[in-house]
């Protein structure tokens, strides 16, 4: 029993890691119907930023969030302004290919700039024991940060003027435009927030995982599964989807093998798409 509890807790904590990346991915999809294949590379950039801030300035990754968040926001803003905005209205394929190109360019650029060396930030490790349960300290912290950032973003989306503009654009760009909403700016804002969240996810992975140019791909497939579970386009859905996926992954891994668990994830993704394509909370237009 304790073991099962342990497995489920590990799964929830894992979900916390996926949440930020998936949240941004689903936000972009919701607002623009663009699947951002370069999202994992933004995570990678965030991870490198935190790594270098730690190694050069000794900044602890959580403090460095104060720098990486605005930096990544800016990068997202620029990327949207100069690239993504040009393909928003184009067919799906166009934006897929564009973001794939961006992803390749960023990976290749990172290889040239940062080399292929494996980096990692030796920061925070170990567990707190509650009875027989071991709770990972870094993952608890990561999960907490993910929760705070998701809540902040959700607050912004629900409560603020620009957040409402963003959601309106997501529901119907044309109607939003007719209502006088600057949908271009709303989209830019959405993309910048999403990239900032991916960067924050990168910061968290910098002390949980290994930092290298191709690290983004490791998380992207999981992020896809998450947004399908939560409903493509639903921001709170992504958070719940992430937790659900974490639990599915670790439970399946415990009951079978870590390898089979991977297959279970993709089968879940397919099953969800076929049975309930809008996910837990997704847009109703599959």
């Amino acid at each position: 029993m304790v073991t099962y509890l342990q497995v489920i807790i590990s799964g929830l904590l894992l979900g916390g890691v996926y949440a930020l990346l998936a949240g941004g991915l689903t936000l972009i999809f919701g607002v623009m119907r663009v699947i951002n294949l370069a999202h994992g590379e933004f995570l990678m950039l965030g991870a490198y930023a935190s790594y270098y801030l730690f190694m050069r300035l000794g900044l602890n990754p959580i403090v460095s969030l104060l720098l990486t968040l605005p930096l990544m926001f800016l990068i997202g803003w620029v990327a949207q302004r100069f690239l993504v905005t040009r393909v928003v209205r184009a067919p799906l394929l166009t934006s897929l290919l564009l973001t794939y190109g961006v992803s390749l360019a960023l990976t290749g650029g990172a290889q040239a700039l940062f080399t292929n060396d494996f980096r990692s930030v030796p920061f925070m490790s170990g567990a707190v024991n509650v009875g027989e349960l071991a709770l990972s300290i870094p993952r608890l912290v990561a999960c907490g940060i993910a929760l705070v950032l998701t809540a902040a973003a959700q607050y912004f989306l629900v409560r603020t003027r620009w957040g409402k503009a963003l959601r309106a654009t997501s529901q119907s760009a044309d109607v939003a435009l007719a209502c006088g909403i600057d949908i271009d700016r709303a989209r830019t804002l959405a993309f910048a927030i999403a990239v900032a969240l991916a960067g924050a996810a990168g910061t968290l992975t910098s002390f949980l995982y290994t930092v290298y140019p191709e690290m983004g791909r490791t998380f992207m497939l999981k992020a896809f599964a998450v947004i399908v579970l939560g409903g493509m386009g639903s921001f709170p859905g992504a958070f719940l989807g992430a937790l659900a996926l974490g639990v599915i992954e670790s439970t399946a891994g415990y009951l079978t093998t870590t390898q089979v668990a991977e297959a279970v994830i993709y089968v879940t993704l397919l099953g969800m798409l076929l049975l309930r394509p809008q996910g837990f909370f997704g847009l109703k237009e599959a």
Binding site: T115, S120, S125, G253, Q259
Partner: protein, 419 residues
Amino acid sequence: MNTRSRRSILAGLPASIGLAGLALSACGGSEGSSAAPAAGGAPAAGAAPKGAPVKIGASVSTTGSNGKTGQYQVEAYQLWAEQINTRGGLLGRPVEMVILDDQSDPTVGTKLYEKLINEDKVDLVLGPYSSGVTQAVSTVTEKYKYPLLSAGASASDIWKRNYKYVFGVYSVAESYFYGVIDLAKKSGYQTIAIVNEDTVFPKATAAGTAEYARKQGMRIVFQEQYPTKVTDLSSLITKVKAAKPEVLVGGSYQPDSVLLTRQAKELDLNVKMLGFSVGAAMPEFGEGLGKDADFVFGPSMWEPSLKTKGNTEFFDTYKKKWNREPDYHSATGFAGGQILEAAVGKAKSLDREKIREALATLEIETVLPGKYKVDDTGTQTAHIPVVIQWQGKDKPVIGPDSMANGKPKLPMPEWKARA
């Protein structure tokens, strides 16, 4: 696609690489007496090589999933080429390296060796990095009867196909953990858990470890594989924990070694010995994990502290040239060059049949521990992998005894008891 537009990453070096000796004379003094086998046919050290260059081709992964380790191998090839030119070249002719990048893709690898052999018309080749690429590429080199020194691959399957032209530079993957198992046995540990990434090399490592552990009378209490690019090993570790092994070894690369260590600590999995195949021996393992790297064992094909022939010079010149310390993948690459040099010396020509003969019978010392010597299949038999253990900032060699320069610290204390 002609040779005029040759694509070497050495394009930046002086075209007449023979002249490079001048620029490098600073370290030339020690070169003469270094690891160069005083092969017959080679002129006295220091004489500038003359004549048409000997072209030696290799394609190594410098991008893609193996880009990190492949880079070490490329740097070693280039260092070797530079050094051989300062000590008179190969058969008195300058060596020119043609190095390409296969992007960690076997498909690209085969194409590039076709290119090296047919388009660049290289005289000799050196091996690529990774067992997967080598597996595919060796079929091409076999077809053209080019001897291939496998300086970056060690899965034993490569030598199970009755190929005549592929030779191992270092021990097969299956034997990586022999030293660790021996130590476990000596310390009286009975139970072992083995986990590995499900790709060519880690799989071979795990299989060999399991077989050897069984032979040594240890009990395998848990064995499981995990996929590449794994993001969570908590369920696996939970299962390991339930199996209560005394020893845990991972057939793993760097990212998963780090993840395994971190999650072992997070889930409070305590074993008496912990070892990883590739990750642990790399300096980055210690950098990335800090104190948590302590007590971890790893097999290494080479270590800077070893007293092998010419090792100090190799280490110093490498560090000087590339501004970073060599890794064991650099050393195997460098050894590949040394062995090729010796084989050409023995064959006294660039005749690839004669070189193949030489490689099959040669027995020499390189910078690697042990010797170079292969059996009938081309499998390396005389190289001796060493075992290192992280102890603070150092990773002394703690086995085998003949090469040890430190003592193993056992058992690994419980995580809670560590600072």
